[in-house]
């Protein structure tokens, strides 16, 4: 027996944790759990869309009920709704792409695809996020036109809305970018190094 054969023998038959798997087959409950997990992301996405529709329909309902619905109100709401919907669709498409990642490809191809997917996932926080923020800002300001009658109040409304939105989107973006730098960038670097090492002789 040569040395590698001995290592193979030790590796495959040693009393390790793996050995403890040796009896029994997969339980039905495990398959049930996997099926639940498979559908959970779809359910979460559906829930997000449902919540979004509920919020907007309630806003339209109450604007009508309180006779506060002016053309400016609906116009602003429309801009916000469009911005949020487009952003959500883009975001969900990215999530769908993660599911499409082909784990059955050879590793060198897989690493390229994974890196590309991660970069694409990050890209949502560049131009799409800026457009989304702009829609919120424009929509809120259009709505503010219909809120108050005096010029002074209108100006104050515009300032408050704009300030709150700019600050919240700025911090939201900053936190996201910080998470990307902390979690995704190291993974991208590692994939690059792994691929270089794999190809090197």
């Amino acid at each position: 027996m040569n040395e590698l054969n001995e290592l193979q023998d030790i590796w495959q038959t040693g009393t390790n944790k793996a050995k403890q798997f040796s009896s029994g087959t997969v339980s039905e409950s495990l398959i049930e759990k996997l099926k639940t997990l498979e559908s959970s992301q779809t359910r979460i996405n559906r829930l997000k869309i449902f919540i979004l529709i509920m919020i907007f329909s309630q806003m339209v309902y109450w604007l009508n009920r309180l006779n506060a619905g002016t053309i400016w109100m609906y116009g602003g709401l429309g801009v916000i709704f469009t911005g949020v919907t487009v952003f959500m669709l883009y975001y969900m498409r990215n999530q769908f792409n993660i599911k499409k990642l082909n784990f059955t490809a050879p590793s060198d191809v897989f690493m390229d695809e994974a890196a590309h997917m991660l970069e694409k996932q990050n890209s949502i926080f560049k131009v799409p996020f800026l457009l989304f923020s702009a829609c919120l800002l424009i929509g809120a300001n259009i709505m503010a036109i219909g809120f108050s009658s005096t010029h002074e109040n209108k100006f104050r409304m515009h300032m408050i809305y704009s300030f709150l939105l700019v600050v919240s989107t700025f911090w939201g973006h900053r936190i996201r970018m910080w998470r990307i730098r902390k979690e995704v960038t190291p993974l991208l670097d590692e994939l690059k190094t792994l691929k270089e090492n794999l190809k090197a002789e």
Binding site: E3, L4, L7, Q8, I10, W11, Q12, T13, G14, T15, N16, K17, A18, K19, Q20, F21, S22, S23, T25, V26, S27, L30, I31, K33, L34, L37, E38, S40, Q41, K99, N102, F103, T104, A105, P106, S107, D108, V109, F110, M111, A114, E183, V184, L187, L191, L194, N197, L198, K199, E201
Partner: protein, 169 residues
């Protein structure tokens, strides 16, 4: 693939490959808690990828591809699913004998040495320890069989040197 076919195929893979997949995880990560975590992630990816199996390669090679790629992308901080709680019996099957104790010690040393290798090398040697051929490793990793051979020789050398340091006999 129909629902029942998918469940049957998964059951067969689980029964036939769980030990081998677990050892791949053990070779790649070594830390117990993370090994369980990676094993779970591989099982989820096998389940999700079953529709992609076209029979172009053997089921074994296909399973190893999913396992290796999941390991390469494994990032414990970046999870988007909850724990599935794969049940693992806590009792050992073997009756403790002197021989099994020695084997366990040797396995511990081997695993420790593998954990000190670079990530790619850990993957390659784990596949070799599962008695895969250079061609199979080549198909899984996408590098040429010749390059696999070069790497295996280098890894073996490193591994035996490390084992020597630990007085492995």
């Amino acid at each position: 693939m129909q629902k029942n076919e998918k469940e049957t195929a998964f059951s067969e893979i689980y029964s036939g490959y769980k030990d081998r997949i677990y050892r791949i995880c053990y070779g790649y990560i070594y830390e117990k808690e993370q090994v369980d975590d990676l094993f779970q992630e591989i099982m989820i990816n096998i389940w999700n990828s079953l529709e992609r199996f076209r029979g172009d390669s053997t089921i074994g090679t296909w399973v190893y591809k999913v396992a290796v790629n999941t390991a390469l992308l494994y990032n414990k901080k970046n999870k988007f699913y909850g724990k599935l709680n794969f049940s693992v019996p806590e009792t050992t099957i073997d009756v403790e004998t002197d021989d099994s104790k020695i084997r366990e010690e040797k396995l511990g040393m081997l695993a420790q040495c593998i954990s000190r290798l670079e990530k790619n090398d850990r993957i390659i040697i784990s596949l070799i320890l599962e008695e895969l051929t250079y061609e199979q490793v080549s198909e899984i990793t996408g590098i040429t069989a010749g390059n696999v051979g070069v790497k295996v020789n280098r890894i073996k050398k490193k591994l035996f040197n490390m084992l020597k340091e630990l007085n492995y006999e």
